[in-house]
Amino acid sequence: MAKKEKKKDLNRRAFIDRGFRFSIGLGLTGLGVGLYKRSRAKEYVWQLDPAKCIQCGRCATSCIMTPSAVKCFHVYDMCGYCDLCGGYFRPEAKNLTTAAENQLCPTAAIERKFIEEPFFEYHIIEELCIGCAKCVKGCGAFGNGSLQLQVNHRLCVDCNECSIARDCPADAFERVSIDSPYIFAGFSKEENKS
């Protein structure tokens, strides 16, 4: 009889214990969810700042993805639609045709389309681009700088520590808010005025 009573007593204690644990767990979960919602908007992703980029070409080789998740992006807003495009043609190109020996891009990832005299529209074939920054350098040196390197977030696996960031000599990689995951360098104010 005594044994039975003891067992019952234990059961009650276990019940209170369990209820206590359960309520603590519930409270902690609630707190977690609340804080989670508040901090969710502050997730970051890797991106490279074109203003700092020196077009060294390491983006093509340092990324853990092959080909690299860094691609050349064409900011059409800034493009001058030049015929003689510094990003498209090699500096020593003999004639301005689309022949491969005239093209700067090693993988022929830039195609161009005639719009109207004398404008051409340039388009980057993402699948072919390896992120070597040759065209970016050419366009920045001779043109408007409308070709810019960016991390393509469809391809980027968002490593814990970006392996390009580690190798980037210009420290151009940074974490940016997931709400505005691309940084394009625009014209600075002085140049716009002139």
Binding site: L28, L35, K42, Y44, S177
Partner: protein
């Protein structure tokens, strides 16, 4: 409950509290980080600058203060 179990349960409690405190601190800090800002050359004078915690912005603000002083 023998002595070994007692020590073990104290240790467990301590670690658990420590973990709870750690995650609490981290999430609290994260929730306190103000609106994200991309500190680049176009936004050097934007109104977010004061609260901007990007390393470049911190250096920029320090230099600005030095110059004005």
């Amino acid at each position: 409950m023998n002595r070994r179990q007692f020590i073990s349960s104290i240790g467990r409690g301590t670690i658990f509290t420590g973990l709870a405190a750690l995650s609490g601190v981290l999430i609290y800090r994260k929730s306190k980080i103000t609106e994200p800002c991309n500190f680049d050359f176009v936004c050097r004078d934007c109104r977010k600058l004061n609260s901007c915690k990007q390393p470049e912005a911190v250096i920029f603000k320090r230099n600005k203060n030095k110059k004005s002083a």
